[in-house]
C-alpha cells in the first residue's frame, strides 16, 4: 500500500488533533503492592503514562513485570495501592477508591481467550447487550450475526468455541468486546502461542477493526514486531516493579499493510525498541526471572 508516503515530522501525531476521540486513559503515579502472606511484592512502582483517545498503545516488557497488573487495575479486576487512573477525565480508581468498577466501557480480551464454551459464537457475542438489557434477545442475536459476518465469521456463528480454530475464536472474542461499544479495548497477549501465519492474519484483522472503530487499544505483548506493526506508541516498561522506561512513537501512516514490516523505517524502530527491551531482559534474567517469552 502507500508505504512510501512521507512520514510526519517527529513528535507530530499522525492523527489530526481536532479528532477528540473518546477513551483517553491517564495513569498517574500508580503503585501496586501485593501482600501475599505478609511479604510485600511491588508489582508496579510509580508508573505514569498518558494514552490519547483512539490511540493504539502497546506495552512491552519482560515476563512477570507487572504489565498485567496495570491492565487488571484499568479493567477493575484488582485494586491499586496508590496513584490514580482516569478514563476521559473521570476517576476510575485512585485515593479513596482503590478498585475501579468493572464496566462495558473497558472490555478485556484475555490471554488464553475467555469465550464461554457453552455458548455458540453468536450467543457469546450477543451476551453483553442481553445482560445489560440494551437489546432484546432476538435483536442482540441479529446484531451479533451481523458483526460476526463483518469480521469474516458469518459461517461459524452457530459453532461452539471448541469447534473453531484459535484464530477464529480470538476474532470472535474481539467482536464480543466491540458489540458493547467500549471506549477502550484491553488486550493481554491475545495472540500468544499462535503461529506466525495466524498471527499475521490476526494483526490485519485487528488493524482493519481499529481503522473502522478507532477504539483506544491497550495491548500487552512480548512480540516486538507486533508492537511496532500495530501500535501508535510502544511503551517499554522495566522489569518488576513495573515503571515506564521508554516510549517509542511509531509514525507509520495508517492504514498499514503487512509490507511495512520490511521497510527501513520499521527496521530502525525495531532496533530502537529492541535495545531498550534487551536491557530490561538482562536485568530480569539476572533478577532470577528465567522466563522471557
Amino acid at each position: 500500500m502507500n508505504v512510501s508516503a512521507p512520514f510526519s515530522e517527529a513528535g507530530t501525531p499522525h492523527k489530526k488533533p481536532e479528532q477528540a476521540l473518546k477513551g483517553a486513559i491517564s495513569i498517574r503515579n500508580v503503585t501496586k503492592i501485593y501482600d501475599p502472606e505478609g511479604v510485600n511484592v511491588m508489582a508496579v512502582d510509580n508508573a505514569s503514562m498518558e494514552i490519547a483517545g483512539g490511540e493504539v498503545c502497546m506495552i512491552v516488557g519482560p515476563s512477570g513485570c507487572g504489565k498485567t497488573t496495570l491492565l487488571n487495575a484499568i479493567a477493575g479486576f484488582h485494586s491499586i495501592t496508590s496513584g490514580e487512573i482516569r478514563l476521559d477525565g473521570e476517576l476510575l480508581c485512585g485515593p479513596g477508591k482503590p478498585k475501579a468498577k468493572q464496566g462495558a466501557d473497558r472490555m478485556v480480551v484475555f490471554q488464553h481467550g475467555a469465550l464461554f464454551p457453552w455458548k455458540t459464537l453468536a450467543e457469546n457475542v450477543a451476551y453483553g447487550p442481553i445482560v445489560q438489557g440494551a437489546l432484546s434477545k432476538s435483536l442482540a442475536m441479529e446484531k451479533a450475526r451481523h458483526m460476526l459476518a463483518d469480521a469474516g465469521l458469518g459461517d461459524v456463528g452457530n459453532k461452539y468455541p471448541g469447534e473453531v480454530s484459535s484464530g477464529m475464536a480470538r476474532r470472535a472474542e474481539i467482536v464480543r468486546a466491540l458489540i458493547n461499544d467500549p471506549k477502550v479495548l484491553l488486550l493481554d497477549e491475545p495472540y500468544r502461542a499462535m503461529d506466525a501465519l495466524t498471527k499475521s492474519i490476526m494483526h490485519e484483522s485487528l488493524l482493519e477493526t481499529y481503522d473502522r472503530t478507532k477504539v483506544t487499544i491497550f495491548f500487552i505483548t512480548h512480540d516486538l514486531e507486533e508492537a511496532i506493526f500495530l501500535g501508535d506508541k510502544v511503551h517499554i516498561v522495566t522489569t518488576r516493579p513495573c515503571q515506564l522506561k521508554k516510549t517509542v512513537n511509531v509514525d507509520i501512516p495508517r492504514p498499514r499493510s503487512y509490507a511495512v514490516q520490511s521497510s527501513e523505517q520499521f527496521r530502525v524502530l525495531m532496533e530502537e525498541v529492541n535495545e531498550a527491551v534487551h536491557e530490561e531482559a538482562i536485568k530480569a534474567f539476572e533478577a532470577g526471572e528465567r522466563e522471557l517469552a
Binding site: 451476551y127 453483553g128 445482560v131 459461517d155 469447534e163
Partner: protein, 288 residues
C-alpha cells in the same frame, strides 16, 4: 443439532453422513468388544463344564462351581415371563430413581450454595465433611431405627449414597470455574443472577453430570445391599437385591447369576441414560 451436514457453506467437504448403526458395524473396537465377550462366555462355559465332560478330577477351581452360561440362559428364559422377576426390576428401579432424584434435587443447590456463599460454606462444610466419609451402609442400622418403615429407611440410605457424591462434585466444579469467565461476564455487565444462571451453572454442568454418574453407581450398590438386608417380608421387600437373596436362600445358583447379570444390565442402562442426558444438556461437549 447433530446434523453436521447442515453447515450452509460448501467450504467443508464432508464425507457422506453414516447412520449410527453403520458406524457401529464399521467400527473395529466394536467387533473387538464383541469377540472379547464371546471368548469370555466360551471360557466360562468350558471351565464350568470341565468336570461334566472329563470327570470330577478336572473340576476347575472357582469357575467349576459356577453354573455355565447356557444354564444361566435357560434359567433366565424361565423367569422372563414371570411377573415377580419384572416386579423386582421395577422395585429396584423405583428406589434407585427416587433416592437419586431427591439427592440431585437437594445436592445440586446445596453444592452450589456451598460454592458461592462463603458464610454458608463456613457453617455447613465442616459438618458435611464429618458425615461424608461414613459409608452409606453404616447408616442402615440407625436408619432402620429412625424411620418407621423399612421402605423409608431404604429410601433414606439410598439418598445418602448419592447425595454426598453429588454435593462434593458440584462444589468442586463450581469452585474451579475459570476466573476469566466471571470477569468477562462482569465486565459485560452481568448481574449477580446472570452470573449465576448463565455462567456458574453451565460451567458446573460437567461436574454435575460426573457427580450424577458416580452417584448413580453408588445408589445401585446401596439399594441392592439394603434390599438384601431388609430381606423381603411384607414391606420394603422385593427388588433385584432380594431376588438374589431369595435365590441364595432357595439354593438356586443359576438364579443368583441371573440376578447378578440383571443388575449389570440395569446399571448399564442407568449410566447410558445419564450420558444421553448429559449430551443433551451440554451440546458444546458433544464434539470432544
Amino acid at each position: 443439532m447433530t446434523d453436521v451436514a447442515q453447515s450452509s457453506s460448501g467450504a467443508y467437504a464432508l464425507p457422506r453422513r453414516r447412520s449410527k448403526l453403520e458406524k457401529l458395524i464399521q467400527n473395529v473396537s466394536f467387533w473387538r468388544g464383541v469377540t472379547a465377550v464371546i471368548v469370555f462366555l466360551c471360557v466360562w462355559e468350558v471351565g464350568s463344564r470341565m468336570d461334566e465332560w472329563l470327570g470330577e478330577a478336572w473340576t476347575v477351581p472357582f469357575v467349576g462351581l459356577i453354573p455355565p452360561p447356557t444354564d444361566v440362559a435357560v434359567a433366565w428364559l424361565e423367569v422372563l415371563p414371570k411377573a415377580g422377576y419384572w416386579n423386582s426390576w421395577y422395585e429396584s428401579f423405583r428406589r434407585v430413581l427416587s433416592g437419586f432424584l431427591v439427592a440431585m434435587a437437594l445436592g445440586i443447590p446445596f453444592g452450589l450454595l456451598l460454592a458461592v456463599n462463603k458464610y454458608f460454606r463456613d457453617l455447613f462444610f465442616p459438618p458435611f465433611e464429618i458425615l461424608r466419609p461414613i459409608p452409606p451402609l453404616a447408616w442402615v442400622p440407625a436408619s432402620l431405627i429412625f424411620w418407621p418403615t423399612n421402605e423409608m429407611s431404604i429410601a433414606f440410605v439410598t439418598f445418602l449414597g448419592a447425595f454426598f457424591t453429588i454435593v462434593i462434585n458440584v462444589l468442586g466444579g463450581a469452585r474451579s470455574i475459570d476466573v476469566r469467565y466471571l470477569r468477562a461476564a462482569q465486565s459485560m455487565g452481568a448481574s449477580q443472577w446472570h452470573l449465576f444462571s448463565r455462567i456458574v451453572l453451565p460451567a458446573t454442568l460437567p461436574s454435575i453430570f460426573t457427580g450424577a454418574a458416580v452417584g448413580m453407581g453408588i445408589t445401585w450398590e446401596v439399594v441392592l445391599a439394603a434390599e438384601m438386608i431388609s430381606g423381603g417380608g411384607t414391606q420394603g421387600g422385593g427388588g433385584l437385591g432380594f431376588f438374589i437373596w431369595n435365590s441364595y436362600m432357595g439354593g438356586s445358583l443359576t438364579q443368583i447369576v441371573v440376578g447378578m447379570i440383571s443388575i449389570g444390565i440395569a446399571g448399564f442402562l442407568s449410566s447410558s441414560a445419564i450420558r444421553a442426558l448429559g449430551d443433551w444438556f451440554m451440546p458444546w461437549k458433544r464434539m470432544f
